[in-house]
Every structure is written in structure tokens, then in C-alpha cells.
Amino acid sequence: MTTIVSNPARIVPGRIQLALIGCNHRTAPVELRERVSFTQKQALDAADELRRQGILEEAVVLSTCNRSELYGVAGEGGSALTEAMEEFFTSFHGIARSEVTGKFYRWAGRDAIYHLYRVAAGLDSMMLGEAEILGQLRTAYGQALDHGATGPVLNRVFQGALEVGKRVRSETEVGTRPMSVALAGVKLAERVFGNLKGRAALIIGAGAVAEQVVEQLRNRSIGSLLVVNRSFDRAADLAGRMGGRAAAWEALEAEMSQPDILVTSAGGTGPVLTRKMLERAIASRGGRPIFVVDLGVPRNVDAAAAGLYNLYLYDIDDLGEIVEQNKKAREAEVPRVEAIIAEHIAKFESWRATLEAGSIVDDLRGRFHQQRLLLLEERLKEMPDVSPEERHRIARITEELIERVLDEPAERLRSGRGMRGRLGAVEALRHIFGLDDSKQ
């Protein structure tokens, strides 16, 4: 993981204005998502342009097939930030703003961070808990970082998001159990054989689900792959694409002594694999177990084969039920994920409070010195007898008084202790002393 050391020189004191605009698979149809997606170059160009126009000081674009999001931090005094970001977003893609009305979400401050952390945790994904988004997030952030588009705030926020994603995947089960029939079949095979590297698989039929299973097997460096189909051409086509070999339908039984994993999804009316065929296959393998995934409807494997010793048979309903159980199990993990997110938001808030409160002392110091000079000027006008040396001494004493008064709060803020959850107090101080008014 990339570790960032924030450049303190870039930390602008004052209130942090963090915002997010974008759309995802829930808010916008694919036709719109296609039009507002960013290539890697476009994402970096957009970040440059946003900074050049002064809309944002820091920017990260996250663009995947299911979402296009722009995260930004504005400088001080920036108002209507999400408005400006949306304006830029739509004009960048040449889309009228009316087209995105109701399809874009806008979040600011804590809500924006909450959204990002949910994205990193996989809670905002089409498939709950999917892990791919974390890699995409890491890439998007890494590119923006290398390009110099991020700053201390987004570095902090995105590092927090990556940490959330990592913790969620290591401490909860939200992403562990298989959520597709194909993956469930392969994961079950791993419960029998352990590592599938070097194992042999036989695929009967060349349908779409079978192809998904083959893809999963290939990802696990399966040793050999054989495809058998009634149409040899289709078998050869799938085998060619997946790096396996094809065999004629007639050779099916002869080929059954080799594979450890058997996936069937052939059409037809009766069973393709009978109990006798599988019994012979196991015997010819010296009793080594066979794992059979029957994806066919009607079933390709004779139901009586389920009782065979060292044969593990799962049909499409079994796998469907497992996927359903897993969905529920993942959903049950959501509160634990939310707790991790809340913990990291609190950490960010604490950091933000320290950073923002730090600026208060500087602002107060400025305000006090301004008042001090005005007061000295007024009062010393009435005291013509005071010599220039004495005037200088009075000025020094009043200056020292202000520094002494502000010394302890400044030190407390520097240490950052006890600042968590005290942002409200900081806001109150700003209001009481009229610090925001004076800046404007």
C-alpha cells in the first residue's frame, strides 16, 4: 500500500470543504454511465482542469463500469462547491445538466466520506461485498497521487478508505462467501481438493454458465481442461479460448478417468452421466474423489449417483441455495462493516478537528493584534507625555500578553488530544469571535 506523508505546507487552515458528486448503477442507467465515464487520461485531465479553474484544490476521479465519481476539496471561501463540480462534470462530457438531474448524487463533508468508505467496503457495489472495487479505488487514487492531483485532505480520506476496505475484507465475512453459481461450484471443489493448481477438469457442454466455471478454474491455474460437447465445433471454440482441448462426444466415457472436477451443462432430456459411468470413472482413478457440478436443466447426472463413495455431486439448485445462504450471510455482516466505517470516520473527524481548530488560534491571534494596534493608537493619542521608548515597551507588553493567552490553546491543538467530537465547539468559537465574517 502506498504510504503518503502529507506536506504540511499544503494544509490550508480553515474549514475543510470536501465534496463528492457522481452517479452509480443505482441512480443512473447504463446509457448515462457510459457517457459520463472517464478514461485514465481524462480523469487526470479533469483533475488538472478543476484545479486550474480554481474550483478545487485537490481532486480524484473514480470511474468504473458501475460508477463515475468526482471527489474534491475546495480552498477557503469556496461556496456552492457541488454545484460548481457538477457544472464542470457535465460540461467536461458535453452533457446538458438537465440530463443528469435526479441521477447524480451530491455529498459534502462527512456524508462524502461515508459514501467513499461504503464504496471501499463493497457496500455500494452491485454485488454486496465484491472486492474488485477496492483495487479500482486504489488505482484511481494512486494515479491521482502520482499526478500531484491530491493533497493532504484527499490523501487522508483515500488512505482511510483503503484501510476500511482492507479491514472489512480481513475482519468480516462480507466478501468471503461465493455469490455466483459458478464461483460457488469452484469454491466447493476447493473444499475437497484444496489448491486446484494442477488439477484436471472436464467440461461437458459449452453453455454460458459452464464458461463462467471454466473462467474461475483458469484463474486458479487448473492443470488441464477438456471440453466435450455434442457439437464438436463449439467444444473446440470454448477449449481454444480457454487454453484447453476438445474431445468428441463419443469419447466422453473414455475421458472420464482423468478429471478431478466435472462440470456438466449439456442440453437434452435424459441424464448424460449415469451412476454406472461415474462408478467406473472413480474405479479407474484408483478411488480418488471426483467433484461433479451439474448445471444442466434437466439434470445431466443421474440422481442415484449422489450416493457413490468419493463422489461429491452438486446440482444447480444446491448451488443456488448456497448462493442464497451466502447472500443472507453477507447481509448479516453489514452492521459490522458499518461499525468499521464509523470508526474510521471518527478518526478522520478527529484529524479534521485538530486541523481546523489549529487555524482558529491563528485567526484569533490576527484579530487580537488588530484590536491591540487600534487600542494602542487610540489610547496613546491621549497620552502625549509617553516617550517613544515607553510606547514601544507598552506595545511589546500587550503583544506578549496576547501570545501568553494563546500559548496554551495553541499547544493543546498541536497535540490534538481530546479534539475528537469537538468540531461543534470550534464552530461556536468561530461564530462568537466573528472569524468567518472578518475573513469574508
Partner: protein
């Protein structure tokens, strides 16, 4: 001092158990390493506990029930740790450490800890014989645990009732390999330990006592475990049948360790 060391080792085993249980529900490589380190810590403290005892009795702890059982538990823990490192599997740790805690904790609660009196001096060969045989039995005990886990995993796979722990259990193939490794180790240790005992007995009495029930049952143990190793690679037995055989074999080990020692043998009756 020995009391504190014993309790400290129990504490480490308990902490290790907590980590292993957590791994079953939440995968975490670091937690696995911590569990192994805690288990190793428990082993170290138990070693010093046994050492204290050995200093008092001037012998390997075999003569009293507490010392003998404690030595067994210690060697059981070592065997598991070695296999865990060799096979890089932490998911069986919860079952093994649970057994370890029950064993060690039960001993402390139920069996008098102080040895009555030092046994007669029997020499280094005898000490080595006792240690190797006990270690061999501990390895068989581990294969028993692994075979039970195999049978549970196999049943879950066949019933299709897959709870959350199921996805964390080791694969059947891994369990089979670990159980076989454990049996191999047990066989080697017992095969080395038996001749040492025979030689020691010959030196003492001039005979080999082939007919003693302890020797006969130990021979039977060697035969049934060799049979397991052969059958577990045959077409008819490979898989759950072999796991069941391995688990049943351990019943003979228990029989040898308890009933034979207490009631049948002439010269293995120590406590």
C-alpha cells in the same frame, strides 16, 4: 514455581485457542501467526514446568499420572505445531488447542500435581524409550483429531448444510495429508522407541518379554497404523473410510495407554 509455569502455559494455550477460533470466522494471516506464537509460548512454559518436575524426580515424567499426562499433552502440542508449520494450515488449531486445554486443565483440576516420591533411577535409554513412545502416541492422537475433522467436513459436504465455519475448514485433501503425516511420525517414533525399551528390559532381566500384553498391544498398534497408511491409498478405502479407520485405531492406543498399563502389563504399571 512449577504451579505458576503450568498455569502460564494453560493461559497461553487458551489465548492461542481464542485466536484459532477467531480464524475460523474471520480469515487473517497475522492472527494465524499470533496463534502459532502463543501456542509456542505455551509449549515453552510447559517445557519448564516439566523440567522442574524432572529435576525433582531425576527422570522423564512417567512415573505419576500427572507428569505422564502432562508430557503427553506437551508432545501433542509440539507435533501439531510442527505439522501446522509444515502444511501451512491454521484452521485445525481450534480443535487441537481445545483438546489441549481440556487435557491440561483437567489434569490440573483432577489429578494430584505433586509426585509422591522420585522413582528408581532407570537410565537414559529408558528415558528415551518413554519419551519416544509417548510422542508417538501423541502423534496418533493428533491424527485422531484430524480424522474426526475430516469426517465432519465430509458429512457437511455431502449434506450440503454449509455453515460459516465450513468455508474455513481445511480441504479434505489437506486434512488427509496432515493425518497421514502425523501417523508417519507416530510410526517412526514408536518403531524407534520399542527396540530401546526391549534392549533396556533385556539389560535388566536378560529376557525380551515378547508375551507381555503391553508389547503385544504396541505391536498391534504398529500393524493397524501401517494398515491405515496402505488402505488410505487404496480405491475402496481412500477418503472417509480411511479417516474412520484412523480414528478407530486411536481407540487401541487409548486402550494401551490406560487399560493395558493399569491392569494387564507386568512392567508398564507406573501409577
Amino acid at each position: 514455581m512449577t504451579h505458576q509455569l503450568g498455569y502460564l502455559s494453560l493461559l497461553f494455550y487458551a489465548a492461542s485457542f481464542a485466536c484459532y477460533v477467531r480464524i475460523l470466522y474471520v480469515p487473517n494471516a497475522w492472527l494465524g501467526r499470533i496463534a502459532s506464537v502463543l501456542l509456542a509460548g505455551g509449549i515453552v512454559f510447559q517445557y519448564y514446568d516439566l523440567l522442574e518436575r524432572s529435576r525433582f524426580t531425576h527422570s522423564v515424567p512417567y512415573d505419576d499420572l500427572y507428569g505422564s499426562m502432562s508430557l503427553f499433552a506437551w508432545l501433542f502440542a509440539i507435533t501439531y505445531l510442527v505439522l501446522e508449520i509444515f502444511h501451512r494450515q491454521h484452521t485445525v488449531g481450534a480443535f487441537v488447542t481445545l483438546l489441549l486445554i481440556a487435557w491440561v486443565g483437567g489434569l490440573r483440576l483432577l489429578v494430584p500435581m505433586q509426585p509422591q516420591a522420585p522413582p528408581p533411577a532407570r537410565g537414559a535409554l529408558f528415558a528415551l524409550h518413554v519419551t519416544l513412545i509417548t510422542w508417538g502416541y501423541a502423534a496418533f492422537a493428533l491424527s485422531f483429531v484430524l480424522s474426526l475433522v475430516y469426517l465432519v467436513q465430509d458429512r457437511l459436504l455431502r449434506s450440503r448444510r454449509l455453515n460459516s465455519a465450513f468455508w474455513r475448514f481445511p480441504a479434505l485433501d489437506v486434512l488427509d495429508q496432515m493425518a497421514r503425516s502425523s501417523v508417519y511420525l507416530g510410526l517412526v517414533l514408536v518403531a524407534l522407541g520399542v527396540p530401546m525399551g526391549l534392549v533396556w528390559a533385556h539389560r535388566l532381566s536378560g529376557g525380551y518379554a515378547w508375551g507381555d500384553p503391553k508389547v503385544v498391544v504396541t505391536g498391534l498398534i504398529l500393524v493397524v497404523y501401517v494398515a491405515y497408511l496402505r488402505l488410505s491409498r487404496s480405491a475402496q478405502w481412500r477418503g472417509s473410510r480411511a479417516a474412520l479407520l484412523c480414528a478407530l485405531n486411536f481407540v487401541i492406543v487409548l486402550f494401551s495407554y490406560t487399560f493395558v498399563n493399569l491392569y494387564l502389563t507386568r512392567f508398564h504399571r507406573f501409577f
